[in-house]
């Protein structure tokens, strides 16, 4: 049995103390969930534990030996393995070699790479997570969720005695999440310490043996799963009631059809028939790889449409690029804000005015006008920042996401497509984003939102369309919402069946 003992930890950046934990003991065989808002000190704490961050004061003991502060290699030797939200994978190497990076399969030569053995070992690792990904594929060709699964499998392959998972399931669908949590449970049962950072409270309650809440760098609660009700957790984290935070049902959508797709198809998608009413919030649920993102990207003109027609506001709509889509009044908040949405090193001003620039130029851009415009937009999207000229990289996840919302609010699209809008943002910011979505719908925008969090969809939307293997399998009205009905529909199509349309690109589905 390993154990981790943290004593007197202090960490400050300049005048701000980000972590002040007097004593925390983690026992082997336990899954400890670490919850708190962004900036509460979770990442600092796990960073110190894995040697990436050097504490100003304090001692970390792992299985009796004291960790040399700020020495990640020493932490690894002591058996600490960290799965962060950034995946340090080598894109140009195949899956198998990434999984065994720096390791050698048992019984193989020191000098030569044994490809067969590497592949077998990799497949065994992936099997532990129940994931089917071809071990010879290059990692750069995988989707974000698939890369996350690889990263987790890689950490498990190190047989760590202390495993830190930083939001391991934020990019994953429900079934994949369950597989990851199952693997974490196995590891804990074999005596390891598992530290789990999570934002989904239902998941936290389900998996954890103990829930530790951080707020402003301090330990504010240490609860058993039974004590950790959603209300109590939220109150500990932000000092507010859950009902204040979660969006309430809004008035129903109008009856004019805002958007209609008929027989819409792309590689691995469709044919899909879909109609959305004016002012409606339509949810799209489905497992990872079910084609949800692809559907949004096809509507946006970012993925080549192979068949089918669309209308927007009653007029034919056939975008050949996202630029056409924006011109027609469609906007997309993509899944991966760092890679698909933000100019990270550019100021907030540039990021929020990006889509509206052409309209601002008359014919030249005026700095004063742009500044006023961007300030107003950032305020309308409730972006909190020190300065509008601050690089957007320095903002919290929630504020980064709100900046992307601001970018679209600035051009008032008729149809707003949202792909996992609350992924990796803290609970306070989630509430803010729900309010933005509701405001958008109230403002006359039609909203299509893809999410892996069923509760979020059930709270927020008027109707949920469920996708599976590239097809729309069921549409559920609000009065019939239930987790069971959505999950049944989402998994029903996952069984192989004679597909009527092209269904490539659904690898990575869970067995």
């Amino acid at each position: 049995m390993t154990g981790v003992r943290l004593t007197g930890l202090r960490k400050s950046y300049g005048p701000t103390t980000v972590l002040a934990v007097d004593e925390l003991e983690l026992r082997g065989g336990q899954i400890v969930a670490l919850v708190g808002e962004n900036g509460a000190g979770k990442s600092t704490l796990t960073g110190i534990l894995s040697g990436i961050v050097t504490a100003d004061e304090g001692i970390v003991e792992i299985a009796g030996s004291t960790l040399r502060a700020g020495d990640p290699r020493h932490a690894q030797q002591l058996g600490v393995s960290l799965v962060s939200q950034e995946f340090p994978l080598v894109g140009q190497l195949p899956v198998a070699e990434n999984l065994l990076l720096g390791l050698r399969p048992a019984g193989t030569s020191r000098l030569f790479v044994n490809r067969g053995a590497t592949r077998r070992a990799a497949t065994a690792l992936l099997d532990r997570l129940g994931v089917v990904i071809e071990p010879d594929r290059l990692v750069e060709t995988l989707t974000v969720p698939q890369q996350q699964l690889i990263e987790i499998a890689k950490a498990l392959g190190r047989e760590p005695s202390v495993l830190v998972l930083d939001e391991p399931t934020s990019a994953l669908g429900p079934v994949e999440s369950a597989a990851v949590l199952g693997a974490a449970r196995d590891l804990a049962e074999r005596g390891a310490v598992v530290v789990f950072i999570g934002h989904r409270l239902d998941e936290v309650r389900e998996i954890a043996d103990r829930v530790v809440v951080l707020r402003n760098g301090r330990l504010v609660a240490d609860l058993t799963p039974a004590e950790a009700t959603e209300q109590r957790l939220v109150r500990a984290m932000v000092g507010a009631e859950l009902s204040d935070l979660v969006g309430q049902p809004t008035a129903g959508g109008g009856d004019r059809i805002a958007f209609r797709a008929t027989g819409l198809a792309a590689r691995g998608l469709g044919p899909v028939d879909l109609t959305v009413q004016d002012g409606e919030i339509l949810g799209i649920a489905g497992l990872m790889g079910s084609g949800r993102s692809r559907l949004l990207h096809t509507i946006m003109g970012a993925t080549t449409r192979t068949a089918g027609t669309m209308t927007l506001g009653g007029e034919p709509y056939a975008p050949r690029s996202p630029a056409d889509a924006v011109a027609a009044g469609v906007g997309l908040v993509p899944e991966d804000r760092k890679h698909q949405a933000l100019l990270l090193d550019a100021p907030v001003r540039w990021n929020v005015s990006l889509a509206a620039l052409r309209g601002l130029a008359r014919p030249f851009l005026s700095p004063a006008l742009e500044l006023a415009f961007a300030t107003e937009v950032a305020e309308s999207a409730n972006v909190t920042c020190q300065s509008i000229e601050q690089a957007v990289r320095g903002l919290s996840g929630g504020n980064q996401q709100k900046s992307v919302f601001g970018r679209w609010f600035a051009v008032k699209p008729r149809l707003l497509l949202l792909d996992e809008p609350t992924r990796g943002v803290d609970i306070g910011a989630k509430a803010g984003i729900y309010r933005l979505i509701e405001a958008a719908a109230a403002d006359g925008m039609t909203v299509v939102v893809v999410s892996s969090e069923l509760e979020e969809l059930m709270q927020l939307t008027h109707r949920i369309a469920v996708m599976s293997r590239g097809h729309l399998v069921r549409t559920i009205d609000r009065d019939q919402f239930s987790k069971e009905s959505i999950m049944t529909a989402a998994t029903s199509g996952a069984v192989p069946r004679p597909a009527p349309g092209p269904t490539g690109g659904v690898e990575g589905a869970v067995r």
């Binding site: 011109a327 052409r358 020190q386 504020n399 970018r407």
Partner: protein, 333 residues
């Protein structure tokens, strides 16, 4: 950034603003070296030497300006040195051998240069050939074409319009230098004050994000290659006017000088960052150092070492700056 809001009043506003200007390093280097060389040699700041420097500046500066556009999108243009040779020869050939009037010859030369830029752009955007490779092909072929057109010998006998272009002065300033200044102003207006200019930064900062927010990224990238080749064409014409012959061996290695000037001026090789003012002063710095060392009779070998060191300092300060920026990031919840 936070420094501006955090401590108002501790220093005058203009001083804090000056300290926050990323180009401050290269600008002060220019000022310091200019004063130092002027003190070390009487001839350095003389009118005739300044005019010579102005001619050099036009050559390297215009090339650097053009290349900067490509680098802003995250690409690179290695072809500009050879394109200078090709356009220099081409303008002379059209004027002398084909018997076209100088204005027509110049216009046609620029048109052909632009066409090469379009081809670069199409290769990079449509075929997905890496910019390095695409322009490397032109680096070799354009030089070859220049030599083939002339069979290795300079074309002389260009009309007086060409030579006038170099000889004429506007208030003591040589015409090529005036052209450089005008191009700087145009580039500044384009990059800072038009939506297309901002979109070029966006493409370099994050191409996928730019595409998904409705920017026609392929067109923007193509445009930058056209601008870069056009700038090389302008320099080619100016060279022919300066040498009064179409010289096929000219411009060898200038692509690297141009890229160096851009990088010294703060254009990030990874794209999306850097300003015209920096590029202009980057080019001025290189010319000042070159001329100063010549006037002080420093051996050409040492001159190259000095230039290399300047580049190393520029890159190091850039890294240190961005490292420090990264460290001062404090997330706000």
């Amino acid at each position: 950034m936070s420094a501006i809001t955090a401590e108002p009043g501790s220093r005058p506003r203009w001083a804090t603003r000056l300290a926050a200007t990323p180009e401050i390093g290269v600008i002060s280097a220019v000022v310091v070296l200019f004063i130092a060389f002027s003190l070390a040699s009487d001839s350095f700041a003389s009118v005739s030497n300044l005019q010579t420097m102005g001619g050099d500046l036009a050559q390297y500066g215009i090339l650097a300006l053009g290349v900067s556009f490509v680098i802003l999108t995250g690409g690179i243009d290695l072809s500009v040195g050879s394109m200078v040779a090709l356009t220099a020869v081409l303008s002379a050939w059209l004027n002398v051998r084909a018997g076209l009037g100088a204005p027509i010859a110049i216009l046609l030369t620029l048109l052909i240069a632009a066409l090469v830029g379009v081809i670069h752009g199409l290769f990079v955007t449509r075929l997905g050939v890496p910019p390095f490779v695409t322009t490397l092909v032109t680096l070799v072929t354009a030089r070859g074409a220049a030599l083939a057109i002339t069979k290795g010998f300079p074309i002389d006998g260009v009309s007086s319009t060409f030579t006038d272009l170099n000889a004429y002065r506007v208030l003591l300033v040589p015409v090529p230098t005036v052209i450089f200044i005008v191009l700087c102003v145009l580039a500044w207006v384009f990059l800072e004050r038009t939506h297309v200019g901002r979109q070029i930064y966006a493409v370099g900062g994050n191409r996928e994000a730019a595409r998904l927010s409705g920017i026609r990224t392929e067109r923007r990238i193509l445009l930058t290659y056209v601008i870069s080749s056009l700038c090389a064409g302008v320099v080619g014409v100016l060279i022919t006017s300066r040498l009064s012959v179409g010289q096929p061996s000219v411009g060898s290695g200038w692509e690297l000088t141009a890229i160096a000037a851009a990088v010294i001026g703060g254009i990030s090789l990874s794209g999306g960052a850097g300003r015209v003012v920096g590029v202009a002063f980057g080019a001025i710095l290189l010319v000042v150092i070159n001329t100063g060392l010549v006037i002080l009779h420093v051996s050409p070998y040492y001159q190259q070492i000095v230039l290399g060191l300047v580049l190393a300092v520029a890159i190091t300060t850039d890294r240190v700056r961005s490292r420090r920026l990264a460290r001062s990031r404090t997330p706000v919840s």
